[in-house]
């Protein structure tokens, strides 16, 4: 059984939506870990200056934060921003990311 192209592309999208945040979290963790690795590397490459500013400052102060911002936005591309946030203390957001009705109906017909 192969299923329709429409269902296959939806299944691919859902797999992407599952894996993208995990991959994004790994990339963010690597971006964080790279700064101490720069310090601990032999010959201190972080101290080398480029354009008058040391590489460690370029990386930790600008490149890694900007890259992290972009990675977070990319990783959450498949997620919906919930509307109707809490109006009062203690009131919390409803759980989101649940499959919508169309997805729920299509799930049984997905190839196993």
């Amino acid at each position: 059984m192969t299923g329709s192209p429409h269902v296959r592309s939806r299944a691919r999208r859902r797999r992407g939506a599952t894996w993208r945040p995990i991959l994004g979290a790994v990339v963010l963790a690597l971006l964080v870990a790279a700064l101490p690795l720069l310090w601990l590397a032999p010959a201190s490459p972080g101290g080398v200056r480029v354009g008058g500013v040391s590489i460690e400052w370029w990386y930790g102060g600008l490149l890694a934060p900007v890259a992290g911002w972009a990675v977070a936005a990319w990783a959450l591309r498949g997620e919906r921003d919930e509307s109707g946030a809490a109006d009062a203390p203690g009131q919390v957001l409803p759980v989101h990311g649940e499959p919508d009705r169309a997805d729920a109906e299509s799930t049984p017909s997905e190839p196993s």
């Binding site: 964080v32 930790g60 921003d81 203390p89 989101h96």
Partner: protein
Amino acid sequence: MGAMASAVRLVSGWLTPVVWLVPPALMLRDGPGGLWVGLLVVLAPLLALVVGGARAAAPPSESALHGVVLVAVAALLIWANLSLAGDVATALGIPRWHGVVLAAGPALVLALWRRVPALSTALLLVAIAGMALPLARVAQVSGVAPTRAWQTLASREAFHFAPGSASVAGGRDIAGGSRRAPVALDEEQRVSAPSGGAVRVLTRDALRPGAQEWSLAPGQSVSLRPGDRLEAEPGTRLRFEAGRRVPGAPASGAAWAAGGGAPRPVALLALGLTLVGGAIALFAQPRFVAPGRRTAAVAGAALLLALLWAQGWTVYAALQAPDVFLGGVTLATVVEVPALALGAPGSPFQAALLVGLLAAFAAGSAALIERPGAAGVGGAADVGRDLGFWAAVFAAAGAAGLWTVDPWAIALWALGLAASTLAAGAVLPGERARASAGAGAIGLAVFVLLSALRWAGAPDVVPMPLPAAIAGAYRAALGVLTAEPVLAAVPASLVFRLVLGRLDAA
């Protein structure tokens, strides 16, 4: 609206004044070493948001234990910020309790106001404006363009007291706030007390340490030699000589840019685990912060601005107000920068910064108070609305804030507690609350036990007779783990989460 509300919750709950001010304080003190905390402050909450996105379809189960820990974490972070308010008040020359009360009262009222989301956005904007205006003014007065500021600082030969600086003209209190260590002098210096006061000089003659105490009359001075260390009673204002090196400052701009010695991998790892784990514990809960792309875009922009602000504050403070190094940089001295850099004409900018910090504290308190409600367990959902309960928490935190305790140490302990108890359940998927609660209890027990051992001074005690080599290794290992309890508590919690999750699945 949803994305904006979520982003505001994330940014305001994370960037309380203590977390705002730690990156510039550590960057001033350690140079590039402080960048580590700056990078973590930006990336840890974004990582938490992405972890929350991975768990959006099945949000982490949180038990009553998690709810209680979240209330404790919120209370500890409120205490840390009130302790900072007390330190800032002392540094600005007003009684400590004035600062605590001035911060706690408005923050409690604003945090518990019903229309929190719209108010939090406004408070966050006030905070950003209050931080940005003094920086813009200090940068303008310095005459150094932002593109050349870092290079100018890194090429500075030494950090000297300027003739008109506050430490030369009116004198400064070197013992205020959480600053405890004596001021070590690098070169000869004549120090006077314009209003009088007692000073203690720790000397080293012929390799023997000694101490001398003087009670100085108003205007009387004392000569100090290189290597002497100076202590003063809190409240004693001391005046230093213009043109002399600022005690506590790096030897030069190049020395500051190179950083202070080799980094300790264990300390770097512990700080990373604490901040990343703490952020995940607080924000990787989709019921609290919706992990969407627009949330990440808005929150990421605000966090990036905060890091750029911290770097600008660091560089321009060192350029325009080298007195900030006097006696070692603390969070409170970072707040003094407008007064130190601009003098009396800078008072509106000093006021703007204080208003910005108060707004950040109020917005942060509102977000932290809401977090236990997102645990979704019984009464915890209503705790955010309980005016009496949070008034009692603010009163207790305010009373604790009257004692001088390092605000960053309190905040780190709070985030470590959150990481040890909640991060495992947030990171590892699982349907059942039992595994998450069990892992949280293990992480909590390990974290609290190791912290208690440290406070009790027990790392030096070997429980049974052991060969010297084994006893030494035991002491060394326990010393590391008690100094950094997250290094044991978070892995223990993760392992138990995995094991209990598999048992549940079986």
